[in-house]
Point group: C2
Chain length 306, copies 2
């Protein structure tokens, strides 16, 4: 096999009570990438569609992630990459992570999978570092492993894949506004009340339990974020109304996807998830702000061949 075409999924990180540790992988929302072996060492980006991104390997998220992997493997050949972006940069559903995750899984496939998927995460994180200036795994982990992932620790890096109940669907509304990652970061307090922290980890513990026991109502009760959402929601127009409407229409929970501006809702069953999407739409229709709506199953697979 000398060429491979892959699907690079969008992801939701900072899942409410799982702020900074818990993410999930979406199905059907994502970029495509073609990767082919080349006699020339290194990585060359030959084509990008759907976004205005640099072709220079060192300035491109996929290029940097791919190079990090090649440095580790020390091969006698290299790869050419075509990137077909469908996830908008700055949407809060892991656009850069999709590119970073895609390239490392794709190269691993072309090589006959010498590395476990978990071991690919650090290379993809190099791509995330280029995109955001910080090493984080909360989007690349679910993009690579699929399902729900928990980044338990960074030093050493440990990512745990959590059970993913079959009937979980995600609704995303992406308002076409810009939330600067730096602003979303700086708006958070450096210290929080111990009592607040305990509330957050009680809910996270309950949510993880709900994922294993497939107790949807419990998941819903736990999907609260008392740490980041109270600050970051102010950066997203209509957040309160979207959330209220999602919960009133059967969503288990609703919160900010990543650091925004996208808002996610989790529902049991596709019908509820679609209905929640329609209601979110109604809220945004009144504002004049453009938006996109997605409805997706939680995908247990991560990056996949197509």
């Amino acid at each position: 096999m000398n060429e491979i075409k892959i699907f690079c999924p969008a992801t939701v990180a900072n899942l409410s009570c799982g702020f900074d540790v818990l993410g999930l992988c979406l199905e059907g929302i994502g970029d495509e990438m073609i990767i082919r072996k080349s006699d020339e060492k290194g990585i060359r980006i030959t084509k990008i569609t759907g976004a205005d991104l640099p072709l220079e390997t060192n300035k491109n998220v996929a290029g940097v992630a791919g190079l990090a992997m090649l440095n580790h493997l020390d091969l006698e050949f290299g790869f050419e990459i075509e990137i077909h972006k469908k996830i908008k940069a700055g949407s809060g559903i892991g656009s850069s992570a999709a590119s970073a995750a895609g390239v490392v899984v794709g190269i691993n496939e072309l090589l006959g999978n010498p590395l476990h998927r978990k071991d690919l995460i650090p290379f993809a994180m190099e791509g995330e570092f280029l995109a955001s200036g910080s090493y984080h795994a909360d989007n690349v982990a679910p993009a690579i492993l699929g399902g729900f992932t928990l980044v338990r620790s960074y030093e050493p890096l440990e990512v745990i894949k959590i059970n993913s109940p079959k009937d979980l669907y995600v609704t995303i509304i992406h308002p076409h506004i810009e939330v600067k990652t730096s602003e979303a970061r700086n708006i958070l307090p450096k210290e929080i009340a111990l009592k607040t922290a305990i509330t957050q980890w009680g809910n996270l513990g309950g949510f993880i339990s709900g994922l294993y026991t497939e107790d949807y109502a419990l998941m819903g009760r736990c999907l609260q974020d008392v740490v980041a959402e109270p600050y970051r929601k102010n950066l997203i127009p209509e957040f309160n109304n979207v959330k209220k409407s999602a919960l009133e229409n059967g969503a288990l929970g609703c919160g900010i996807s990543g650091s925004g501006p996208s808002i996610y809702a989790l529902s049991k069953g596709i019908q509820t998830s679609k209905n929640v999407g329609n209601k979110m739409k109604e809220v945004y229709l009144k504002t004049g702000i453009e938006y996109a709506i997605y409805v997706s199953k939680v995908c247990d697979k991560g990056v996949k061949m197509i």
Copy 2:
């Protein structure tokens, strides 16, 4: 059935990363209680052995918990209680919780179990309030439900029972010193760094996952407390040496039980747990401080009839 004899288990609360939310139930370490129906309404404590505790119903933890339950049930009769304490007050393994949990489960049994065990927790919390001045469920929940319990929320109260892997054993060393609960509380900061909180909830999420997947090594990596232990360990002589010795001798994790002074270690298998106990002993033998050592399976049952 007019009389019942019950075993009221000791418990470990504040399980490292699960500070203030996660507890477990011990087997074979606990009080005994005899409860019998009486024509007279209310609760009368007829006998207490093993501890110098008040016989007056209103001043006794079991009395207060029992009365809270009777107020809810509105019966035409009452109960007499004999309490045989074996868990020392102030040991940090849920002495008051054992009494509070025992009386409400015992009365429920004598009545033919009109209430679910979970619904008994608020009555037992009244007993805890008498003992400590605060309503908490982190010991009464595992004492009543058995196994591992997570107090997800207090308003409303929600306790979740978590899967309890079969091979988990607990070693406890109880140094016979006094740690005042008020001091253990006041020594904690009111605010913590967001980064520290994220470390704690990453570990708690991982530990809960480990309990469900029965991944002992993962549980071990997660059993860290970066929030309370750094402060409270200073109240317990030899804490660092006991912990070091437990981990070096195969314990999965080690930390403060409740608010101390007892120290717990979790191990896979009884042999490791016993060995860990012997090593803990060696540390304390040098100090001249008296101590007691316990080794126990995690008990999935909670209060039980004997």
